[in-house]
Amino acid sequence: MSSLAQWEAEFAKGVVGDATTYNRSGIGIKPLYTPKDQSSVPYEEALGYPGSYPFTRGIYPTMYRGRSWSQRQLIGLGVPEDYNLRVKEILDLGASALSLIPCNSVFRGYDADEVPPALLGTCGTVINHVEDMRVALDGVPIGELSTAMNDPTPFTLLAFELAVAKRRGVPWTKITGTSNQSDCISHFVANHMFFRLALQGARRVIVDHIAFANKHVPGWNPLSIVGQHMQQAGATPAEAMAFTLCSGIQYAEDCLAAGMDPDQFLPRFTFFFDVSISFFEEVAKFRAGRRIWARLCRERFGAKDPRSWRFKFHGQTSGVDLTRQQPLNNVARVTAQAMAGIFGGLQSLHTDGYDEVFSTPTAEAARIAVATQNILREEAHLTDVIDPLGGSYYVESLTDEMESKIVSLIAMIDEAGGMYQAVEKGIVQRMIGESALAFQKKVDAGEQTIVGVNAYQVEEDSANYPSQDYPDAPRMQAYLGRLAEFKKSRSNADVEKAITALARSANTPKSNVFEHVVAAAEVGATHGEICGILRKELGFGHPLTVV
């Protein structure tokens, strides 16, 4: 008979000194976990079965046995025609949902004719009005597959999509998908690219958008609460999960304060996380997050419908983990990250192209990224068993430890007055900045190996790797010409009327701003015009950066 004491003695003979290592969240990791590390909470209460409270093992009873996660690759480049071409290719390859990444100028809330032309379409698709969206989605069955619009407040891209649906005769009740990048707190803190309107103005528009979607586009997820930005900015996995849940608390409490029913809005809340290469830590992060959110929804927000307690999330493999050195190694990194996300029970997954350290992914890298998901599911059979790491002494213990770390961070933010106040004071930004610097110092000191960067280097010429070409200037010039044409061809009187109504709505507390955004999009108001008037009325989005 072997005993724990005997193993401990033998291990100590082989490994001298403290055997504890630390994960990115600062949790001490032992060399072995045994039944002694199991929590005393009964199985049904701590873990339960997939699809039932507290959802530690997954939010649906069938998980991937019933349906695969959605393979949702981010796409966006050039002009609407380019987007349409790439989206059709990706759908042919087996992607089951689509995601639209607009050009940075669109992210910043401007039309193409308001910005330096050199930057147009280099990082996403230029979409400025309803006609652009019609072209981008031409031949795409929008009533049948889910569409994610990466577009923050005031959500003009969704407004354009709804206008296109109306013209095609597709009822809004058939439109499904997600307003990615709707979480203004994460933009204020960590990814300022999407931060268009002043924080409190954006806060109001989000609540209006949720109310509108719940009523008119019930299959749409109006809110995606984002941990990805914060983790990419340097937050540890535990911090990223905690801060994201804190943002979720604020949005839910705002909806409650607006008199909305938690069992109507909560089932349409979704989350979006980074999946780093810290494999077990990521699995535990997601399992813990599911359990905490379920408890918050039931106990703190008073939701009664089990659908309200489900923690639905999209995962994106972490770009920060990828290296420019020996870039093909990134395929292996993305594979490990994707596995962590799958074992973590995600609902939708974006795998990064290995060449994202050079440029927007080339077509070949995008194909490999999709294939990676297919290989993991259909060749490696990762999906045969639901929550296959559940019950591992290590994974369960780590899930518990991540949970207590996350819960204590949530308590700290609650203490600071909630997430809005904490970010306005810079508390969260400072913590994330410190974590980012601490990680970089570990890498520089060689305490965290990064293959090809601080270990196992080889001589190489990275100039050999292809990068995605930028859209050519004449194509962009032609686009600008079409934009000018569009602005001439629409009824400018109608646009003016709609913009005036939008401005009035922004200054009328009980009015729904997003309803007026949709109305303006339908008559041909452009993205820049809609964002411009709201910037004027609700304030320009200056992020708070702390160094």
Partner: protein, 140 residues
């Protein structure tokens, strides 16, 4: 005379808002004893030029994660027009190889890619600051 520490502006022009890199670099240069002027993203090129004049900065570090490096040559042109051709400009972030060549040709002193070590950045900024002081005829 006492040595004046290098003075560096760490900033972002264009649209991108990913600021992990610029914040880490700013903190690390400051820890290395340099005087760092950090700005939030989306600075107008003219604002960066104005800041450079006002602060008498030696080095400008531009962080670019989403193609904003494409307008760095415009920044260099405006610096030259303002009589600041001695100021050293470095770029860090996601820069495709073909663009790196273009940037170096347009007068950028150095391009840092993901995986660059903080020590390398610190040493390079120190050397470039000395170079700029030498160009100015100032002994350091």
């Amino acid at each position: 005379m006492t040595e004046r520490p290098p003075k560096v502006i760490v900033t972002k022009i264009g649209f991108d808002g990913h600021d992990r890199g610029s914040r880490v670099i700013a903190a690390c240069l400051r820890d290395a004893g340099m005087e760092v002027i950090y700005t939030p993203p989306w600075q107008e090129i003219s604002a960066v030029v104005k800041l450079t004049v006002e602060e008498d900065a030696d080095v400008i570090g531009i962080s670019s994660l989403a193609t904003d490096h494409l307008i760095v040559p415009q920044l260099l042109a405006e610096l030259r027009a303002a009589g600041l051709s001695d100021v050293q400009v470095i770029v860090g972030g996601i820069v495709p190889a073909k663009d790196e060549a273009m940037l170096l040709q347009s007068g950028v002193a150095r391009v840092f890619h993901p995986g660059s070590s903080l020590d390398d950045v610190v040493e390079s900024v120190r050397a470039l600051s000395e170079k700029r002081r030498a160009l100015m005829g100032e002994s350091t």
